[in-house]
């Protein structure tokens, strides 16, 4: 039991991950999908940072008198992942704006309806 609680960071990761994925799948609103995607990606940030943590260690900056540092690599990687995430979000939002201009809506079912009509028209 205590072991399960001791891993609470991972439970949060899983919770965020599932929340994000659920949002992506369930909602028909494109902006909400993007939000879901962001939550999903945030869970991964937490996952990495968690795995880099070392008990009783300090931040990976050279300080007199400290021996153990947390693993800096996962944090560095996540910096890159954040950039990627921001870029993805930017592209997604830009697309949403253009979809809104082209269809007049950002609700998936209404878009599908219009596309279906377009399909039938050829």
């Amino acid at each position: 039991m205590s072991e399960a609680l001791g891993l609470y960071n991972y439970w949060i990761v899983i919770f965020l991950m599932m929340t994000g994925l659920y949002l992506v799948i369930s909602t028909g609103n494109l902006v909400r999908k993007v939000v879901g995607l962001n939550i999903f990606q945030a869970s991964v940030l937490l996952l990495y940072v968690t795995m880099g943590r070392v008990d009783g260690a300090t931040a990976p900056i050279f300080v007199e008198g400290r021996e153990t540092y947390t693993d800096p690599l996962p944090s560095v990687l996540m910096l890159t992942a954040i950039v990627v995430g921001v870029a993805t979000t930017a592209v997604a939002l830009a697309l949403t704006v253009r979809i809104n201009e082209a269809y007049g809506t950002i609700e998936e079912d209404e878009i599908n309806e219009q596309e279906h009509a377009q399909e039938l028209a050829g």
């Binding site: 992506v24 494109l30 999903f40 690599l73 996962p74 992942a81 979809i99």
Partner: protein, 495 residues
């Protein structure tokens, strides 16, 4: 320069992209991009030759940092082969692009197109050469993000929704890969794939690794459009600008398959203690591949939009590659790798032919292609040759890969698998012939303007790709033979 050979294919397009962006002039940007693409292609060919003749992988330590701290580019035969695949297809398709996009993309966005195209190519090439697992993710996202932007340049507004769907699914896939990468780092303490492979033996049966494998496979399955994770692909291919479709169809899913091969064979291994990709290659991949081969081909038969027809055919063809990879034998792997290249040529050529058609008649609907056999004889003839390549008729590159695939199945006494492969290729006959019959046996629609043959600047690149797919159906020294070499390397067979 030869010491930098491994990094050049990535560096050239990566640096040329901002230059094209800065140039802001349509002609100058496209010209630069085309030149850079061809130089990259030459560099790739030299790289492949070097790797094959020396028999040792080309290793490049970025920034001079060794593998335990830095990123190392590790180019073995397979990687070099994929570099040549991407750079050759990229160069030919971009040569096709200027005239084609002139009708499809507003003029003020052409330099933007060139930059994105180069970025996408740089990303794909980076995936091929890097030996670092996290780097794979970064390059995958570089290429994906620029691909999203490229696809959204399509004329039809449906290009936007197609891109959005691709973006959502692609990002989910990439994030899965990221999770898998993290778990692998957690278990092995390194991101270098070769070192990971060395450490993975110690983690036999650890559940974390199994979870990592699951995440990685699912993620890359999404990226390579392995059935049934292909939902993003048909519309994305269908509504993108012609040259973008050709480039993406020919390269991006292929590179994802390469990544899958890399993981299964380089990191996880397939035999001996510690091999943990068993369930993937024994069960998941074959099941998905076979259902894809049949279902996607069947769906392709009923399409009225030829670009979408070809897109579904791509999903089916990915199945052949995955099946080859899952067979874990020299001929199976050879089939998978050779089919990467062979199918890239064939499908690239076919999509370029569709580009010619779209250029002239402004539509890619089957109904609008009636009577085209008489009006655009050269284009349609090239289309027919490409279609035969999809079926896998002898003398085409598709035949070579099919041969290896069936041979691999029979070598494992899996007669049923051989029969399945051959039967599913018969479905291709049906959808290819639907187009041929429409183009040759039906009268052209009334009331449309007279259509003439596509301009030479479009026809030549198309003919080059289709011609290459015929050439490599006969002379396999630099296609299937190299694939065989790569397969032996991956399986650890001493040459």
């Amino acid at each position: 320069m030869s010491e930098h050979l491994a990094v050049l294919p990535v560096l050239l397009p990566l640096l040329a992209a901002p230059i094209c962006f800065l140039l802001r002039n349509r002609i100058a940007a496209m010209g630069t991009a085309i030149a850079v693409c061809w130089v990259t292609f030459v560099a790739g060919v030299v790289l492949l030759r070097t790797v094959v003749t020396t028999g040792a992988p080309a290793i490049y330590e970025l920034g001079g940092w060794s593998a335990d701290v830095g990123i190392v580019y590790h180019v073995d035969t397979l990687a070099a082969f994929v570099v040549v695949l991407v750079s050759s297809l990229g160069a030919v398709v971009l040569t096709f692009a200027p005239q084609s996009i002139a009708k499809e993309i507003p003029k003020e966005k052409h330099h933007f197109f060139a930059a994105l195209y180069l970025l996408s190519m740089a990303g794909l090439l980076g995936i091929a050469v890097t030996g670092d697992l996290f780097n794979v993710f970064v390059f995958l996202e570089i290429s994906s993000l620029s691909t999203y932007a490229l696809i959204s340049l399509g004329q039809d507004r449906r290009a936007l929704t197609a891109t959005f769907r691709y973006l959502i699914l692609g990002t989910v896939g990439a994030t899965f890969i990221l999770i898998g990468t993290g778990l692998m780092y957690q278990m092995t303490g390194t991101l270098n794939m070769a070192e990971m492979a060395a450490h993975i033996r110690e983690t036999e049966g650890v559940r974390t690794v199994l979870v990592a494998i699951a995440f990685l496979t699912a993620g890359i399955g999404l990226k390579m459009a392995l059935f049934p994770l292909h939902a993003w692909l048909p519309n994305a291919y269908c509504y993108a600008p012609s040259s973008v479709t050709a480039f993406v169809a020919a390269t991006s899913t292929k590179v994802s398959v390469y990544v899958l091969i890399r993981w299964i064979y380089t990191i996880f291994g397939t035999q001996g203690p510690g091999s943990m990709s068993g369930v993937v290659v024994d069960l998941v991949l074959p099941a998905m591949a076979i259902s894809g081969m049949f279902i996607a081909s069947t769906v392709a038969i009923f399409q009225t939009n030829v670009k979408r027809l070809l897109a579904f055919s791509s999903v089916a063809q990915i199945g052949y590659m995955a099946l080859g990879v899952s067979l874990v034998s020299e001929s199976g792997l050879t089939a998978g790798i050779a089919h990467l290249f062979n199918h890239a040529l064939t499908k690239g050529g076919l999509f370029l032919a569709m580009g010619c058609i779209a250029y002239r008649i402004g539509s890619v609907q089957l109904a609008d292609m009636r009577g085209l056999g008489r009006r655009m004889p050269v284009t349609m003839f090239l289309w027919v040759l490409g279609g035969l390549g999809l079926i896998g008729v002898p003398c085409t590159a598709g035949f070579v890969s099919k041969w290896y695939l069936v041979r691999a199945a029979l070598e494992q006494d899996a007669l049923y698998l051989a029969v399945i492969i051959l039967l599913s290729s018969l479905l291709a006959v049906i959808y290819v012939w639907r187009v041929i019959e429409t183009a040759y046996f039906q009268e052209p629609p009334e009331g449309k303007d007279e259509v003439t043959e596509a301009p030479l600047s479009l026809l030549i690149p198309t003919a080059v790709l289709i011609g290459a797919s015929i050439y490599f159906g006969l002379f396999t020294e630099w296609s299937a033979d190299v694939a065989g070499l790569a397969a032996r390397e991956l399986l650890g067979v001493v040459r």
